[in-house]
Symmetry: C2
Subunit: 432 residues, 2 copies
């Protein structure tokens, strides 16, 4: 029988403990699949006394994950600490430097330092794997890098943050406002105490930057991702979307265009009958547009101990089987350096919601501002009247396809009109 | 630089020519991904003079695929002939016997002889790969065997035949009958001149038998698949389904139950809001229910030159990279021999359509037959009245959850009633 694959786990939070549990529960299955066992030989975590519901007897303890990466008796270091810098980065760099394979669920680290880490790992003929960093239990990295390896991918988009998708789904189905649903999500454990990484789109942007690199074979370029979160999406936007035949989703979208690579995360209106519109709650989805296989999409749970551990162990199974593909689908040294396509060049339709004083001539002024900036209006909706003249009423409009730069200029002009009482809110419409 | 991977292609139909074209079009990309080229060194097809739109200069020709499998200068034989026996089987067996890897798109062959072929290949440490045999361009075999390798899968179901899904979608959206839509599908090239493999469910059953084996780690057991096609689905069934909140799909369903493995292909009513209900036209979908990753689903094109070639080349890329997983996820010698769970034991709800003489007492007699066989009715619908008493009218009913054996006995009794003018039609309701 082949020697076991020895792994050291840095970080025993939800995902770390879940990974240790999975490896114990499925030990026989994994041995069948790999032809060898996968054995946890070392772990590191701050608090040794905490009960994590997993058996760690006989496993070497390290207080310091970097010491674990340097000294543990392990073929693979599994980094589940999190964060783009600090201990996580030092742990991964040390592990690679010592000639160990690395499996990580750390999207921030890969989004910020993925190319450099991949170069270091590939120089030493070691694996750097991060299936768990994107879309949890959905095998999308493997899907793009191996399953669709025969294709050129021109676009990838998806629902990459379960917290935002849960909040938007709840807002739509219950009619409640963002703040109320967020508070509930925090109580249920679907949102963090400090939710800004999720709701401001950063987490989705990390994942998108990684997907972009695997899909297009280019260096990871997180800094170029345009990011907008869901704080400004109101219950009334979801209701208007429904009326207009759309659903609102926080999407990550990456596209190869003649001007370069578009990478953006923002709330989108998508047609109700688009497959992604039906993906609700904490589920994630990723859609790839390829040249030979055409469109392929994958849906599943984007977070949680079980799904994330499933992805971590899938990477371990590959290593145990001796399967290695280039980190981002092509060798890191050959990743293209593609120009970012500026957000101002985005072509598409827009939804705009305004709060205006209900008096004659207001709409004419708004329409004139749109015209002056070459934005062509498609529809206009005002529901209800103010109880007294001059009071605020919501007005929404949609535009025909236009350029983002024109739209921004038109909105800046509209925002300055006296009858416009609050900053205009704009949501991009995407036709998939 | 590493030596090219040399491949011999047996069969130059749509998929064969598509594969050769893909390898030519994406040669540089594939070299980047694999670190070596994939080169076609030999082909076999009946007609050498036919223009297939691909450059075959410098490639060795064989009239006989078995001679190609025996004699070609190739590491891999790609079998794209089709059929469970004859030339395809002899080609694959010869290739494995000569120590070559085999990639095939042949679902019938793998469904009938998969276990034996896998044993033979694994004994010689060679790959037998068949991503293209199931769900075309969707990387579902890799998804189950590698992406979800950490999981036990308890159920897999899916839309596995694009022809049937196209026909059912057209029937629903246009209200036309089966025969008319089938004729159109044949004209459009979505259905074969002899469509029985598709519309009678055999093709889906082949794919399901393969999925079952990969999902549950058991020997392929095509003979135990219960199969019913879509010939008897009428436009009126689709209309009633809509009214009852369902869509009709031809599904393949495999489940691990305490009684053994359920494998069945038949038309199903699924709730309109089930994700699979939204997968229309020629698209395929596969849903896996796993223990750690929970539910994961994949959607894409199930047929066509491009998607199928994409899957064939994904398998070639794995071989070129030196990646090998056990054929069905666990070694063929360790595949479980699981008992089939008989169809008569299926538990679930049913939709029944009857053509009855429109006169008093008919419904009472039907209800009594149901009661006598322990089938509990949930709803009953009669739309419209006959123009004269005693004429035929359609009546539909749905049942609460019951056992298939009871349902069959009840239907047999109802079929014998004088007022029942045509054989009862039954469609199983599945709640996902």
């Amino acid at each position: 029988m082949t020697e076991p694959l020895k792994i050291a786990v840095a970080g025993l939070g939800t995902v770390g403990a879940g990974t240790v549990k999975l490896l114990a529960d499925q030990a026989d299955l994994i041995e069948q699949r790999c032809g060898r066992r996968i054995t946890v030989t070392a772990v590191s975590a701050r608090d040794r006394s905490k009960d994590r519901g997993v058996d760690l007897s006989g496993v070497q303890w390290f207080a310091d994950p970097v010491a674990l990466a340097a000294e543990a008796d392990a073929d693979v270091v599994v980094e589940l600490i999190g964060g783009a810098a600090g201990a996580a980065k030092a742990t991964v760099e040390t592990a690679i430097g010592r000639g160990r394979h690395v499996v990580t669920a750390n999207k921030a680290l890969v989004a910020h330092h993925g190319t450099a880490l991949a170069l270091a790992a590939e120089e030493r003929h070691r694996t750097l794997a991060f299936e768990a960093a994107v879309a949890g239990g959905i095998p999308i990295i493997k899907g793009l890098r191996e399953g669709l390896a025969a294709n050129r991918t021109s676009e990838v988009h998806g629902i990459l943050n379960g917290t935002c998708n849960y909040i938007l789904t709840e807002m739509r189905t219950t009619g409640r406002e963002f703040a109320e649903v967020l508070a509930e999500a925090q109580q249920l454990g679907y949102a963090e105490a400090d939710p800004s990484f999720d709701i401001d789109g950063i987490d989705a942007a990390h994942k998108l930057a990684i997907l972009t690199s695997v899909a297009f074979g280019c260096a990871v370029d997180f800094a170029s991702v345009y990011v907008e979160g869901i704080r400004h999406v109101a219950a009334t936007d979801l209701a208007f979307a429904e009326e207009l035949g759309y659903r609102i989703k926080l999407l990550g979208i990456a596209r190869l265009t003649p001007a370069g690579v578009e990478q953006r995360v923002h709330p989108c209106m998508v047609p109700k009958d688009a497959p992604i519109a039906a993906v609700d709650g904490v589920f994630n989805a990723v859609v790839a547009q390829t040249d030979f296989a055409d469109r392929v999409w994958l849906v599943g749970r984007g977070a949680g101990a079980g799904p994330t551990a499933s992805a971590v162990v899938a990477d371990l199974v590959d290593i145990a089987r001796g399967c290695a593909a280039p980190t981002f689908g092509v060798p890191a040294a050959r990743l293209a350096r593609l120009e970012p396509s500026p957000m101002e060049g985005r072509q598409g339709a827009y939804y705009v919601r305004l709060s205006v004083a209900d008096r004659p001539g207001v709409i004419a002024d708004i329409a004139a501002a749109m015209r002056d900036h070459d934005v062509s209006m498609e529809s206009f909706l005002q529901r209800g009247r103010a109880s007294s003249p001059g009071e605020a009423v919501p007005v929404v409009l949609t535009t025909h396809e236009t350029v983002e730069a024109s739209m921004r200029r038109a909105l800046a002009a509209i925002a300055e009109q006296r009858a416009v009482l609050e900053p205009p809110r704009m949501i991009r419409i995407e036709q998939f």
